[in-house]
Each structure stands twice: as C-alpha cells, then as structure tokens.
C-alpha cells in the first residue's frame, strides 16, 4: 500500500502520526483515505475548489506530482506545507 507522509504542522488531526498506510491508487485518493480515518486532515491539503492550497505541494517518491497522479504499492506520498518560522 502507498504511504502518506504527514508533515509536522498537519499532525493535529492524525494525533501525531507521521506515516499512514492507505489503500488508494492516486494521490487524491490517498489524502481522502487519510481523511476517512482522521477527519480534519483533508481541508489542510485541499481548498474548497478541490485543488491543493497554494501553500501546499505534493510529492510522490520525491517528485512533485498533481493530485491525479497514480501511485502504487510502497510509493511515498509526501505533503509539504510552506510553513517554517516567521
């Protein structure tokens, strides 16, 4: 199963979990699967129009990827939020 890597700022809904295995075949489906188990996670990633917030970028195995990118067994889906100090 793909693994979603949760960035520290977004670990409130996941109760601190850093890596969550999900049964899904696209990046978007991965995020939706995390939301199903941890409500409140998805709105941190996607805006009301269904697109990623402009301060969020998504990576699959280190490569920036769109929400509809396909993922396979063992792939790492990384959510990166532009937040670091101020």
């Amino acid at each position: 199963m793909p693994i979603v890597l949760i960035p520290p700022p977004y670990r409130g809904p996941t109760g601190g979990q850093e890596r969550i295995e999900v049964a899904a075949n696209t990046v978007r489906a991965c995020i939706e699967a995390v939301e199903a188990a941890h409500p409140g996670f998805l709105p941190q990633v996607f805006a009301a129009d269904g697109e990623p917030h402009k301060f969020v970028k998504l990576f699959v195995n280190g490569d920036q990827s769109p929400p509809e990118a396909e993922v396979a067994e063992g792939d790492e889906v990384e959510v990166l939020a532009a937040i670091a100090g101020g």
């Binding site: 520290p8 601190g16 301060f55 532009a82 937040i83 670091a84 100090g85």
Partner: protein, 577 residues
C-alpha cells in the same frame, strides 16, 4: 590561520582598543560567544541600563565567508525587558564586514558622564575610534543612514538606534543596514530591548568600513569553496527551497488555519481578515508598484526578504514579515497589509521591535481605550513613542508596561517579553520553549510547528529545537537556511581545516544554553518564572475555545533539567524560527 581580534569599547573613557581573540573560542560566535562574554564579565544583578551592563555585538563563526546565507550578527546583553540575558540577531552586512576585518566581537562597557551626549564607534581597517555624534541626536533610522551615507565611504555598513533606543525604551531595537546599494536600516535585532542598552551607553551608531577587503577564507581554500558550491547548489536545486521564495508573509494562511494567527490580543487564533493580510497581496503589489524579493545580506541564497512599495511606486518598507503582519495586524484587529506596512516602517524608523510594540498596542486596545482595528490610531501611538509622551513611553516599554498602566490583566508574555505569533496553545511544544528558554517569549529560541505532538515528546523536542537554534545562531547561518548540526559541523571543518564533529556543534549549543540559564539564575530567575500567564493557560482559542496551554510544570522542567540522550532526530532537526 586567522588573525582574529576582539574590540573593547569603554564608553566611560570613550576609548576603543583591539586585543587578540582567544584561540580557545574559535568555534564560538554569535549567540554562544555573547553568552560566554556576558557570563564571564557582566554582573547578572546589574542595572540593564547602567554602566555595568555589557553590550556585545558578535557575528557568527561563518560570517564574512562565502558560505551561503551566513552573515548574521548577534546583539547581546542583559535585557531591560526581561531582566535576564538576551540575544537578538539580524541580517544585513555589518556582521560580515566586521568579520572580513577579523573582528569577532565588539564588547561595549561603561557609560558617558553626560547622558545627553551622543557618540559613534568607527571601525576601519587600521583604526578604531569613538567619536562625538551629537549631530545625529534624535534622528530616525532612515534619515540617520542617509546622513551617514554622505559622510562615510560607500563600502561602509552601519549598526544604529532610533529615538526609542536613545530614550532607553524596553521595546527598542538595534538596526543593521542591508545589502542593497541604499544601505537601508531595515534589518533589526529587535527583541528584548537591546536598543535601549545601546542608547544607555550613548552609542548612536557603529560604522564599519572594510573597504575592498575580500571574504574570509582558510589557507587551504579549495575544500572550503568546493563544499560551499556543492551545498549552495543542493539548496537551490531542491524543489522544497522554492516553497519559501516569497518570504515569511506567505505563511499567513496556513498559520491562520492552524489557529496560530492571533486576533485581537490573542482572544482568537484566527483572523477574519486573513485574505487582506496574507503575503499573496504583497506579491500581487510587485506587479503594479514594483518592489519584490531580495537578499538582505550579501551571499544569501534564501532571499526571503521583500521590498514593499506604496501606491505611487515608491519604496515603503522592508521586510514585511509574518510576525509583523500578525502582531501589528491581526492581533490589533487591523485588516490591511498596507496599514501594517506603514506601521512596520514607523517601527524601523523609530527603532522598535514590531512584535513587542504590536502586542503592547493590542493590550491598549483590549483595555478599551482604543478600538481594535484603528490603524490611524496605532500610527499616532508610534509617533507618540518617538515624541516621548507618557503614553508613548508606556507602550514603547512593551506589553507588561502598558498592561500595568491600563491595569489590564490580559498580557500575553513569557519572562516579561511579548509572545510572538506562534501561539503556545495549538503549538504546546513551542510553549515549552517559551517557558524554559533563557530568552522568554521568543520563537527563534526553539519553534516546533506540530500541533499533533504527543505530550510525552514536548520536553525533548523543545530541548532539541533550542539546541539546534542556539548552534545556528552562533554560526552566523540564518535560521531560514534551515541548517542541521551535521551541516554546520561540515562548514566548520572546511573553514578550519580540521575535523569538527556534529557532537561538538551540539555541545556548543548546549553550553550556550547552560551559560544563559546560569546568568538568569544569577539575575534571580527561578522555576516560578518558567510559566505562561493566565490568559494563555485559562483562556482557550480554536474550536470551542478548547485550545489552552495546559502543559505540566514538570514537562517544562525536563526541557532544561539535563540534556536528553542523543537520538537520530537531533541530527536531522533543522534550525527554524
């Protein structure tokens, strides 16, 4: 390898001399060096504004070299705001210029007999001199630098104070000129009132002229430059580096989402005005008004500093940061980023910390004497600070000062210093830092943006964050480069041509914290001071106002009691603040 020296300035006798820099201190710079000097030479019981306090200006170890984003300078002393040790650091070019000349620190002691006199320190390749500067008395920072630019060489940089520092107000900052040709006094070592310490010594400005002195380089320069080139390329090629290309103001929406964009004196964690305060509006203005992103110091590869223009296309201020948009914007109920830009410029002109001043104005508003959202009223208050009115001084002296004047209980501080934007209620591990750090309410001491962190991890995470940030603030690297301790160790190794381990860098960070805690103990601090006020522990924000700072005192104590055993996370933790 380096013929380093240390400048001693005696403001009682108005002399400046250089002495050899101790070889044993070669890996100490910035914050760690400042802490060591203050612990060894300054009575922690002294009056922060008296002759016995010591003002330290210490560039980081890597400052003045070609290492990327490495030129920061620490300003240190006993704080008139907290009553404890304080370090605040800034970008700009003074740190690099001092280090190009081999000066590892400027240590200022004493006080002139006549408090009405103003002086300057001139640092040149072959001379050090304290000179009279009465003609600059009362000048605002921008006018001062414009004046000095006509008097000194174009290769010079400046460290200065505005009227707030001259009036010895506890919210006063120390300004450093940036790397732009105009040499604007836009980079501030802002926190803790160190501008007041500089003012108490009658020191209006420091001029550093390195002329055409090249960057510092080791005798065997090849490995150093090869490492610098590879590290810089690695940073620039990382797609993640581009996440921050529009600076800290772009953080606003996500901070708001996480309930750490305080509104109306922290009575809420989110602002309804997020759309008119977020960095995207500033970036949009670049298209029609000019301005844009730039590097605040020579050799910066992060380039997170923005230059903001007014509606007519003229320079207004730099840099308009997340913290300023929060404390002078949302926290005061002010909805327009353009009003915040005006307030930011005024703070830089007068020489004030935007965090402390924003917090103080919000407390004044919360007390009922001014409406939240009154941007023009806030600007009038800043002018009153410059004029030295009774109200101006009460606000210029910071959050606790105006809280006492107004007899208002909701004063969000730690160790007497206003809390920054990062709120300890959703970010409890950061709250542990505010309680346990020698610096008080200061996010740059150890920021942890992880609202889901289990409580049993708070103490170790806070300590590790404090360690890496202390090490970073001693290195000269900017926290926005986000170096790890192994990365700092690699740079030290290629600079000095000898193996410096990550463990040594961690030890420097830990020793810095020990020195600072010891100083504060001598100043009278106890565990009873390691707390946050009732408005943070009892008043909630977020959903159902359920987010409160409810961390037990023993967890706070763990963060400073003893060093946790090293674990792998210590070496991967990035400096951030």
């Amino acid at each position: 390898m380096f013929d380093d020296r240390l400048i001693r300035v005696d403001m009682t006798n108005l002399t400046a001399t250089a002495e050899p820099y101790p070889e044993a201190w070669k890996l100490l710079g910035g914050r760690a060096l400042s802490a060591r000097i203050l612990l060894e030479e300054c009575d922690p019981q002294c009056d922060p504004l008296g002759p016995d306090n010591i003002l330290v200006m210490a560039p980081g170890v890597m400052s003045g070299t070609a290492a990327p984003t490495s030129g920061r300078i620490s300003i240190g002393g006993k704080s008139p705001l907290t009553g404890g040790i304080k370090e605040a650091n800034a970008g700009g070019n003074p740190g690099q210029d001092l280090m190009k000349l081999g000066y590892r620190a400027v240590v200022v002691k004493g006080q002139p007999a006549d408090a009405n006199k103003r002086y300057a320190l001139e640092v040149r390749k072959d001379s050090l001199e304290v000179v009279e500067a009465d003609d600059t008395k009362g000048m605002w920072n921008y006018a001062l630098i414009e004046h000095l630019a006509t008097k000194y060489a174009e290769t010079a940089s400046f460290i200065s104070i505005g009227p707030a520092g001259e009036m010895k107000l506890s919210g006063a900052s120390v300004a450093c000129t940036d790397a732009d040709q105009a040499r604007r006094p836009a980079r501030h070592a802002a926190r803790g009132g160190l501008g007041a310490v500089m003012g108490s010594k009658g020191l209006k400005f420091v001029m550093i002229d390195p002329e055409k002195t090249p960057v510092r380089r080791p005798d065997d320069a090849k490995p150093f430059f090869a490492h610098t080139k590879a590290y810089t390329k690695g940073f620039q090629d990382s797609p993640k580096a581009n996440m921050f290309k529009f600076g800290t103001s772009s953080i606003v929406p996500v901070a708001n989402m996480l309930n750490t964009f305080p509104y109306k004196n922290r009575t809420e964690g989110q602002s309804p005005d997020v759309a008119t305060l977020e960095g995207a509006r500033i970036v949009e203005s670049f298209e029609t008004r000019g301005g844009g992103m730039h590097n605040c110091m020579t050799g910066c590869v992060v380039q997170c500093s923005n230059i903001v223009h007014d509606a007519d296309g003229n320079y207004k201020t730099s840099a308009l940061e997340f913290e300023t948009l929060t404390l002078l914007g949302a926290n005061c109920g002010i909805a327009s980023w353009e009003d915040v830009a005006d307030l930011d410029r005024l703070c830089d002109e007068i020489g004030l910390d935007t965090i402390e001043t924003g917090a103080a104005i919000a407390i004044f508003m919360d007390s009922g004497e001014m409406e939240f959202g009154d941007a023009e009223g806030a600007k009038r208050i800043l002018h009153e600070i410059a004029e030295g009115t009774e109200l101006g001084k009460a606000i210029g002296n910071g959050a606790v000062s105006i809280g006492k004047r107004q007899k208002h209980a909701r004063v969000p501080v730690a160790k007497g210093q206003a809390l920054p934007a990062w709120d300890p209620r959703p970010l409890k591990a950061t709250g542990v830092t505010y309680c346990s750090s020698p610096m008080g309410g200061d996010h740059t001491a150890g920021l942890i943006v992880n609202p889901g962190m289990p409580p049993e991890q708070f103490a170790q995470a806070s300590q590790e964050s404090q360690l890496i940030n202390a090490a970073c603030d001693s290195s000269g690297f900017c926290q926005f480069l986000q170096p790890t301790m192994p990365e700092i160790a690699e740079f030290y190794s290629v600079l000095y041509g000898e193996a410096v381990t990550r463990e040594q860098v961690a030890d420097i960070g830990w020793q810095c914290l020990l020195d600072e805690w010891k100083f504060n103990e001598g100043a009278g601090f106890t565990a009873a001071d390691d707390v946050l006020p009732a408005c943070i522990t009892d008043e909630g924000i977020g959903p159902d106002h359920s987010l409160k700072f409810d961390v037990a005192a023993d967890i706070v104590a763990q963060a400073k009691a003893e060093r946790f055993p090293e674990r792998e996370e210590l070496w991967t933790t990035k400096a951030t603040g």
